[in-house]
Symmetry: C2
Subunit: 155 residues, 2 copies
């Protein structure tokens, strides 16, 4: 991957992963076979260098991923506009990776990781919900190949 232009604003991999672990949603960027990019927000769970999300069986992002599994995933932490400085404070991370559908145990585990992240007090009910929606749900994994993060103000 290319290096970041502003090295002074770069955060370390650990900090980028911490942000990725804590954010509620990120924007998945994919591209179709006519080279039209598509960015869409989604809830996700991070685990062991992978990002997991679920979606319907068909749709724009699934079509794009089938044609080209290369994706990027962007999360943004707290932001604060500084009107008098013509600047914004923020922290963000961008992961690059390859998306693929997962099955079996990994698929089930990923759905439980999503439950544990978003519905920690309803995990048992959630498992019944998983069963109910099982045939209408795809689970996608993004295996992260590179992650970078940026913080403003610079260190």
């Amino acid at each position: 991957m290319r290096e970041m232009r502003r090295k002074d604003k770069e955060i370390g991999t650990d900090e980028a992963i911490k942000l990725l672990t804590s954010c509620e949603y990120g924007v998945l960027s994919t591209v179709d076979n006519e080279e039209q990019p598509y960015g869409v927000p989604l809830n996700y769970a991070y685990k062991d260098n992978c990002i997991y999300f679920h979606c319907a069986l068909t749709g724009h992002k699934i079509n794009n991923i089938k044609d080209n599994p290369k994706v990027s995933f962007c999360v943004v932490g707290e932001t604060k506009i500084l009107p008098s400085e013509f600047a914004t404070n923020y922290v963000s991370a961008i992961a690059f990776g390859v998306a693929s559908e997962v099955q079996g145990t990994e698929r089930y585990n990923a759905l439980v990781w999503l439950l544990e992240k978003f519905s920690p007090e309803f995990v048992e009910e959630g498992k019944r919900h998983i069963e109910k929606k099982d045939k209408a749900t795809k689970v996608i994994k993004i295996k992260i190949q590179h992650i970078s993060g940026k913080k403003e103000p610079a260190k």
Copy 2:
């Protein structure tokens, strides 16, 4: 553009534009010439069916846009996790369009629109800031060709 799968969750163009007008930042999705998507957050201003942002003279997004000006731009409004429902309420809009660098009056106007949006009480100081940073700044316009929006819960 392809139609949205879940028509029941679709919001109208007016509502999507309203969201685009009010959000502080969006994620710009571009693609490089090796078909690697790249999504990056940025502050922007919306005006007359166009999205304007400024950036440094060089960098990842500028390189991508030079090779392929087709982009998508995603904004997300308020989100609310509903743990017991295994769902999230949110509103989002995705614009598809073509990016190009702007010059002259349009360039200056766009920088002032950004000032008026983010630094409404410091517009005059901001104009001096624009002058100071003039040679280090590119201004990019995304001419929107299509915009769609989605709201959860469905209407």
